[in-house]
């Protein structure tokens, strides 16, 4: 998303290049002519709006992530969280996920792992603030705990690397520019109050109190969701693949399970940016080859004692009976 920002700046975003700082939108609505001198400021104003491209506070991230998670749960037919068996399954998925997340570079976030009722799509998603969701379909197809851990680790990696935050920040900057341009020609996208809140953030570090700004939360959530639906570009997916494998190696899972997981994926057709699975697999195999240091250096990655444990029963029985829960494999490298 950073490249998108750069592109906007290079283009000058002509019609939107009105100052986002210190302008009262109330005075601009329906007064396009009076805004003309502001439009001449050009690229300088784009830079002003880019002040919103900052690390959000944890509270801001929780609000955005919670709102996005609500969309993901709604789309996925709700959480699989009705019966005692389904709740036990959630306990298991959360224990596996929290163990991995505790070893990530964001160990103080409290991570939440949900199973969606969706039985059609083999999919996993993440939202900022430590929300990770997997579909029931995915759980139906994984062969062992290593593959489950791989799916969760990939989504944890997106959260640690703050990939969705990049999309959100781009929407904040866009909102600053778009609202200003739209108001200059009398077509308000945000209310004057919300638009002025965005402007005020330019002077206070660029973060937003989304819990107390419902219109901004709704607007930015839905814009970020639309960007999310385009899919992450290949670079971000490969980055998440590599961090996922690091997490698996830290926890003691055989990374071969991750390759097995990728082989189960169907290439995502509705996300035009998502890379092809064969390319992901090839890059990951090459990456695994690089993970050893010299004898006198601290070896951050374990290469011995790695496992792909069976899926835990009876916790997993609501997905698949114990008799077909996968074969344990001790594959010491």
């Amino acid at each position: 998303m950073g490249s998108r920002l750069k592109m906007l700046a290079m283009l000058g975003v002509g019609t939107l290049a009105v100052s986002c700082r210190g302008v009262d939108f109330n005075t601009l609505v329906n007064k396009g002519a009076s805004a003309a001198p502001q439009l001449a400021k050009g690229a300088v104003e784009v830079v002003e709006c880019k002040k919103l491209d900052v690390e959000p506070t944890v509270a801001e991230e929780y609000a955005l992530g919670g709102a996005l998670a609500i969309h993901f749960v709604q789309r996925g037919g709700g959480l699989m969280f009705s019966t005692a068996e389904e709740k036990k399954l959630h306990d298991y998925v959360n224990i596996v996920g929290k163990n991995l997340a505790a070893q990530s570079l964001r160990p103080t976030l409290n991570w939440t792992f949900g199973v969606l009722n969706d039985t059609e799509q083999f999919n996993a998603l993440s939202a900022p603030g430590g929300y990770v969701l997997v579909t029931r379909r995915l759980l139906m197809e994984v062969d062992n705990e290593g593959q489950l851990a791989g799916a969760l680790a990939h989504e944890i990696a997106h959260g640690v690397l703050k990939h969705a935050i990049r999309q959100y920040n781009a929407q904040k900057v866009d909102a600053c520019q778009t609202a200003q341009g739209a108001k200059a020609v009398g077509k308000a996208v945000l209310s004057a109050l919300s638009a002025n809140t965005l402007l005020a953030a330019l002077e206070t570090g660029g973060t937003l109190d989304l819990d107390n700004e419902p219109e901004l939360l709704a607007y930015l959530t839905e814009k970020t969701l639309a960007a999310f639906d385009e899919g992450n570009g290949p670079k971000l997916e490969f980055e998440a693949d590599r961090m996922a494998v690091q997490l698996m190696l830290s926890a003691g899972y055989d990374p071969a399970a991750y390759l097995g997981l990728i082989s189960k994926m169907t290439d995502v057709k509705n996300q035009k940016n998502h890379p092809k699975k064969q390319e992901r697999r090839d890059k990951l195999v090459a990456y695994l080859d690089t993970l050893k240091g010299t004898a006198d250096e601290f070896p951050e990655v374990a290469t011995e004692g790695l496992r792909s444990p069976k899926l835990k029963q009876p916790d997993y029985a609501v997905i698949r009976p114990a008799s077909s829960s996968g074969v344990a494999k001790d594959s010491v490298k």
């Binding site: 709102a67 949900g114 603030g129 709704a218």
Partner: protein, 192 residues
Amino acid sequence: MRMRTRAAVTAAVLALGLPGMAAAVRVNDPLYVKAKNTRVQQGPSSTADTVVILQPGEKVTWKGADPKNKQWHQVEAPGGKKGFVFQTNLSTTQPNMELVTDKDGTRQLDPKKFVASGAAVKALSPGAEAYGKGKKGDYEKAVADIKALEKRNEQLTPERIAAHVAEAGLFPVVGPSDKVASKKSSGKKGGN
């Protein structure tokens, strides 16, 4: 896995932009604790007595791998206590301690107090909850589902995580408790 030169590895890792892999750490260099309740043991084993328990972000000095049990590493903990820590409890990169720092990132709270306080307990944010309820229908149901899940997750303690890890034969990274047990710590606990 094939061995490559360290230069090639470092170049590859830097190109990936991944934290935690780029810095080469040698004996007497610092390492950081990754996970909750990281145990510093008297000997190179999860069943040895625990000397001290550390929390994410705490810094130790690396003294090298145990010659026989190479996945156990000797460290000097804050305060000078020495012992052995499992390999993957340690990182060359300091983790993001976002919930124990001020907004400007300067004042760090004591990680031990943070873990003990339960400050990391999360509930759906009030803004997100109001947003979902306002959209009604399936969205309102999604809010209820997420809240119920987060409430239930409060019972998923590090002890339960450690118990599952032991049962599954994974690495003993997350420790069961933030307090040193009066008797030998049990890295081989049973199931949930």
